[in-house]
Point group: C2
Chain length 440, copies 2
């Protein structure tokens, strides 16, 4: 700690081997170049990329990397004696990314990665490898881009019992829902625009069907609760079924619709799910719009905490990757899931039908006498208590009109049973839209 800035600069650099030179990899190279002075001072030694592995050597990445050692096979970074830290930016839960991370950890080499799928699906195995070989595995960039969500949970809240964790974890979905609300346009239309703007992939499945958010949620839950959550037990719903109508009704009811990842721990176990939710329009998370992400944690002692910022993009993601690298340079090593307990066996999320909460149900019904009586009878029979109802009668009897029901908190099992029976009614003309209500 007595070393001066000049001494820091004269120290042996920490040498990085970077696998994958897409947006984030190139962004990291630019960040390390532009902020070299302050990064050296803060890390206590220079940080340099010495080797890279990427498919295309000639692509213009906005920075000259030709002087570096290029590996044809990323795996070779794990055994390169001139690489101190492996930075994995290839992506994907299997294949080259997984091979490289496992090889590096097995070789006792610290790994920094932005790979959410890898951590979400193989969290148990990777944490064992990291512990067995005393090789740190850091992944701040895997969740919510530039937001230091991992550090907040793993270190900032280390003394507290975390009751719930989650938030707005996918910028594409938040952009789409925000645009739908602001313009009244429908999902397909806004998705197309998001694709044109580069906010959504050509194949939008990972984003709009909730899997990207679920990967991030699984990682946050593992950190919050000290052990991985089996990914296939996480309940995942996307936003394809949300219509412009729902955003309008939500507004009328004093809510906004957000795709939320939420994991809760109670004496009954862990509940982890990704689903569109109605949140009160006055809740701080309701104000997080566009491509922004937000992470909310609730602790027994600390209460509620929310961080919002840019969840994607070269700059924000590169700062998260580089912060992990600086932690390694500073000599920090914390177990993967933030605990020294050896029991990191993954646990399962409870089935969705065991949860409890209030619901918004939108139906398309034939506007004729007795319809509401039939529907409310089913709710009553299923033990679901009604809180509010919105119905706009049509000009002519016999037309299809939307009918919105809001329930009091109830068992999800009961609500799903009621939904099924209601969907089967002759007067119900389309698949009902069921959205959970979260009251922050």
């Amino acid at each position: 700690m007595t070393s001066s800035k000049e001494e820091a600069a004269s120290k042996h650099p920490l040498r990085l081997g970077v696998a994958g030179l897409g947006t984030v990899g190139a962004g990291l190279a630019i960040l390390l170049r532009d902020n070299a002075d302050l990064i050296t001072a803060r890390a206590g030694r220079p940080i340099q990329i010495t080797a890279v592995a990427a498919r295309d050597r000639t692509r213009d990445r906005g920075i000259d990397l030709s002087a570096l050692r290029w590996h044809a096979d990323a795996i070779d970074l794990a055994s390169d004696p001139n690489v101190d830290v492996v930075v994995e930016l290839i992506g994907g839960a299997e294949g080259k990314a997984r091979e490289l991370v496992e090889a590096a950890l097995t070789a006792g080499k610290p790994v920094v990665t932005a790979n959410k799928a890898l951590l979400a699906l193989h969290g148990e195995r990777l944490s064992r490898l990291s512990a067995a070989h005393n090789a740190p595995l850091l992944f701040e960039a895997a969740v919510a881009g530039g937001i230091p969500a991992i550090k907040t949970v793993r270190e900032g809240l280390a003394a507290d019992r975390i009751l719930s964790i989650g938030g707005i974890l996918n910028g594409t979905c938040n952009y789409i829902l925000t645009a739908m609300r602001e313009t009244g346009r429908d999902f397909a239309d806004v998705l197309k625009e998001a694709q044109d703007l580069g906010y959504a992939e050509a194949d939008p499945t990972t984003d709009v069907d909730g899997f990207d958010a679920a990967h991030k949620l699984a990682i946050l839950a593992a950190l919050a609760f000290g052990k991985p959550v089996e990914f296939d037990s996480v309940h995942v719903e996307g936003i394809r079924s949300i219509g412009a109508l729902d955003l309008g009704f939500a507004r009328t009811l004093g809510y906004r619709i957000k795709l939320l990842g939420l994991a809760r721990q109670s004496e009954r176990g862990i509940d982890a799910r990704v689903a569109p939710c109605l949140v009160p329009e006055t809740a701080p998370i309701a104000q997080v719009d566009g491509v922004f992400n937000a992470v909310i944690a609730e602790g027994a002692f600390v209460g509620r905490l929310m961080i919002e910022g840019r969840g994607a993009g070269a700059g924000p993601t590169a700062t998260a990757v580089a912060a992990d690298i600086i932690d390694i340079a500073r000599g920090k090593t914390i177990p993967v899931w933030g605990t020294y307990a050896t029991d990191v066996t993954a646990v399962r999320s409870r089935p969705a039908d065991e949860w409890h909460g209030a619901f918004y149900l939108r139906l398309s019904v034939t506007d004729r006498a007795g319809v509401i009586a039939d529907i409310t009878a089913i709710l009553r029979d299923c033990g679901v208590s009604l809180s509010r109802m919105i119905q706009h009668p049509s000009a002519r009897s016999g037309d299809d009109v939307p009918l919105v029901l809001v329930t009091h908190p109830t068992e999800e099992r009961a609500m799903q049973a009621a939904r099924q029976r209601i969907a089967a009614l002759d007067v119900v003309s389309a698949e009902p839209v069921l959205i959970r209500i979260e009251t922050f």
Copy 2:
């Protein structure tokens, strides 16, 4: 990293000597007791309070501390061989708190403190002591209670050049401004209520005159920019001059009024100030109400990041203190201001009149012909350009009425000159209220 939870529990505990057993000290003891299992697992060893120093040994603190070693003089904690870490919760920039922290660091003992005034006023000296004796000095609880603001800046954003840092740093002021806005009541009235509710001290000066926020801002600025800011150069204004009228006019103009601490770095130097500001009502920070705090950082690569949560209270503050202690148990040591550069000489904030921005000016003027012409002529002569004006003519000519002027961005020096000349006009009957406008 291969140690099991059982092994962690069987390790030598990290032994704390706690000075000061007020709300936070007692809260820390309760937190360490209630969360002992998970803290042991996350820290890799048990954390125990072994010695304390507090004035009153018999007071009921909600937890039995009679079995601990009590020191009559807090200074003795620094030399107690059974104390590994000194936790300073006495408070105050001088006296016993400062003596203890300096003695502990000099003895090479890690120190954890919640003392914002101490760090804000003696940051340079303390960082030198910490470095010279290789004794970590951690102070997460000094800024924004349970919000891990320090960790976010010092570690989460370690790779980025921070352009600005600040936020809502005083819960008492935010509570008062929120209540004034919501109820239309005036400052004195709401302050009285806040005192009755325990949200404000009997002597509210430190809070409502901005000094508490300024201490926190000085600490954030030192972390963001890598060296302390001389506290007496920080511009400090409180909220006493804000009237219910101003909150109403702000609403009309599409703003809310918040007491903000803001520090910016540019090629011209560092600007650090605490002052009430108008912020657009749609800005995320405008939504942070009541006793909540929020910290906003803007980095060159990461963009804007905001964290909000509870800025005070036993639980939130104790989690921050304990997170620092866990960092020490995990073997983390980072220099006080996050940089290994030895030049930690404090820098001065630029004088307020060199800043640049838009302003809100509320005058109380005699409602008669020519008044507005006189006032706008002064603004023109001072080179201040007017953007908007609100005037409600009174029932009878000759009455005093409020007149609100909003300027385009201008030199603060020019604005202050205009304000002085306007205040000297016969038709201006009370001290003008001048509030900066911040556009997030």
